[in-house]
């Protein structure tokens, strides 16, 4: 695997034609190439994924990766980052994965401002299990578990994350690749927890291309550090089938991230164990 210099592995890609995941993969690849040129070593990246269509992305990169469990990207990424603060840890999560199964981890990651990047492939459907509603599916969505339509409104992810203390909150769209690329880059560079909710086209189970093409726009980032402005921008769209849909970095602020740098110390473990025994004698 290390003989080839490509960032893309030779694993067979099994996404559907037209799937928005290709765009995400492409954008991430470009950003990593850019960063490599700027001196970041590619082995410093660790990609973490959950389970779902989105998650296959880690197989497709010729990079360190951790293909974890449905809903569990964040604690894994947190552990990796805690072990080695020098690694650049990027989570690829799905909307079922992250906003249903593993939502508590997301909020706690925002709270502790752990220095990882989360990219949610938000196709607003369970793709890999063939089409059920997720927490961001619009009211009335008919999926295999809800043939008569759901009776719940979607979660406004942006508001929820702002309310949970996230220090970097953004939205992108898989068909606006240069914009997506910029946001991913900024998220990776952000010191602290960075979340990107990517509106990702699921060509097979929930193809919103036309709606998104029409309704998304790049909102101003002039007041990106103002929390109230961020809240207002976040409220503009409630994940319903009514636009307009702002894209961009909604909020970005500096808060001391975790993990704190640990001082390098040479500890004689045997001596420490002996001292403890002494203290208990």
């Amino acid at each position: 695997m290390n003989s080839d210099n490509s960032l893309i592995s030779d694993a067979k890609n099994t996404w559907c034609p037209g799937c928005g995941n290709f765009a995400i993969q492409h954008a991430v690849k470009s950003v990593i190439e850019e960063l490599e040129k700027e001196g970041v070593q590619r082995e410093e990246f660790v990609l973490v994924s959950g389970i779902g269509c989105h998650a296959k992305i880690v197989d497709y990169f010729n990079l360190n990766s951790f293909y974890s469990l449905h809903g569990r990207t964040i604690p894994v990424a947190t552990g990796i980052k805690m072990a080695n603060p020098d690694l650049k840890v990027i989570c690829f999560a799905g909307d079922g994965d992250l906003y249903a199964e593993g939502l508590d981890h997301l909020i706690h990651a925002a709270k502790r401002n752990i220095d990882i990047t989360v990219i949610c492939h938000n196709n607003r459907v369970y793709g890999l299990t063939t089409g059920q509603y997720t927490p961001t599916s619009p009211y009335g969505f008919r999926g295999k578990s809800t043939p008569d339509g759901i009776h719940e409104p979607p979660l406004n992810i942006i508001e929820m994350l702002l309310g949970s203390g996230a220090s970097f909150v953004a939205r992108a769209y898989s068909k606006k690749i240069p914009h997506l690329r910029r946001i991913i880059r900024e998220a990776i560079m952000h010191p602290g927890f960075a979340h990107i909710d990517v509106l990702q086209i699921c060509a097979t189970f929930f193809n919103m291309t036309r709606f998104y093409d029409e309704q998304t726009y790049e909102s101003s980032e002039a007041n990106v550090s103002q929390f109230d402005v961020a809240c207002r921008t976040g409220q503009q769209w409630d994940y319903s089938d009514q636009g307009p849909i702002p894209l961009g970095i909604f909020y970005k602020t500096f808060r001391t991230p975790l993990p704190e740098k640990r001082e390098e110390r040479e500890i004689d473990r045997l001596k420490a164990v002996r001292t403890i025994l002494q203290n208990y004698s």
Binding site: A11, N64, S68, L69, H105, H108, R269, I276
Partner: protein
Amino acid sequence: MTDFSVLIGGKAGDGISQAGQIIGSVFASMGYHVYQYTDYPSLIRGGHNFCIIRAADHPVTAFRSHVDVILAFDQQTVNFHSHRLVPDGEIIFDSNRAKAKGIGVSLASYVDRFQGLPIMGNTAMIGALSGYLGISWEVIEPVLTKKMTKKTEDNLKIARAAFDEILKKTSIDKTGENSRPFMSGNEWIGLGLLAGGLDAYVAYPMTPSSGVLHFLADVAKETDIIVYHPESEIAVILMAMGLAYAGKKTAIGTSGGGFCLMTEGLSFAGQAEIPVVIIVSQRTGPSTGLPTYTGQSDLLFVRHAGQGEFPRWIAAPATPSEAFRLSAMAVKIAWKFQIPAFILSDKSFSEGIFTGDINPGIPDNPVEVSPSFPYRRYEDAADGISPILAPPVHGEVIKVNSYTHDFRGITTEDPGMTVTMAMKRKKKNDALKDLIDNPENVCISGKKDATICIVCWGSVRGQVTEAANDLDVRIVSPLILEPFPIITFQNAMKGVTKLLVVEESANGQIDKILKEHGFFPDELLLRCDGRPSTVEELQEKIRRHI
């Protein structure tokens, strides 16, 4: 004096457990072997707590039906426990809160004399006990000074006054042996993990496992380990997976309910071959059950937890030195074989406090890395063990995967590769079995040639060994329960014609494992009320069945 027991009882909030520990420490500092049992309900103030502190000139890990002294902070203690007193025993009681035949001491009067805090009544009680037993003040003073880091002077004054003013009954002397460390089972486990090379400990609080978390958090700085308490047990095990992937030797700890939430991560560790040490401390179940009482009914759950099949290692210590050795070994085994390694404890062991004689030599823990070129995380080998590298490694790509994967860690659905990986896991299990199937891991005690045999595991071995002391009974107790050290066990069982099992469960757990290996117990001596048996209770029970 060779075997001496003190019972101390009162309400939660009276500082019963702390006072017990100081008394235990006093004995330990005199060179005695000490064991302390603490019995408390699941509440913070009030209720009835008691400890039994037993000091002897030989190692003890159980308590007896009878006690020599009762220290009663309240009337309940007198009422509940007087029957335990030996004929020439004594009740020392707080005369402000209880009435009894014995020595009344007004704890409050000592506290008031030195303007102490109400909690310092327990200091007065310690002083009174020491005076009564004729322990010299030179023994007590340094222990109190060390243990009571707040308001030390006041405490010393209170203790001294009570010490001086009580009638001396006997005169307990130092043994001549050195002072012994006196630590809880959880602390012995934590110490073993440290000795085994632990880098990180992650846990969510859960009785009776929290002691490991609290201990390691306390010593995190001086040992330079990461200790973290995250939002849930699910986060615990997945953070551990992340930490281990990035090269940190990580352990986690919990009890049954929290372990349930870890089982998905456990199966992940099995598939992805990520090392992790898991401390499971059992309590009375099912479900929330009796959170502060003991049990041995999670063995089969831990043995089979997680979907699919993968090797795991399960050890159940019964003594401090076993806890130390096995916990250190757990780190080593987990990392060598890249598997989950369990320390299966229970409330009695975790929260029991023991003196221990260990040689804290740190088992060597060589880095087992010999990367292949090109590096493949899941390279196969004769023993199934792959080279393990942690990122970042220049020029290498390190992938782990919860799906069935190829040698590089990339998802596959190929039937052949699926079988190869299943066989790789099996080979690791076989190698592990070979490694652990030796006499060190099956404890034989009692009359080693008796034809009646008791099999037991974990903390009850202490009770069983003492209970069977005068009986014509062999005791065989595996320290490692998975993989089962079958050859050693078979050897240990040679000549046995009657097989009893002693266990703290309602239906029996280890008997199922024995049967799998062709040993069919004649009788299960079970107990499921959460209380460990006293030596005498158990002896009585065993007598009825032999």
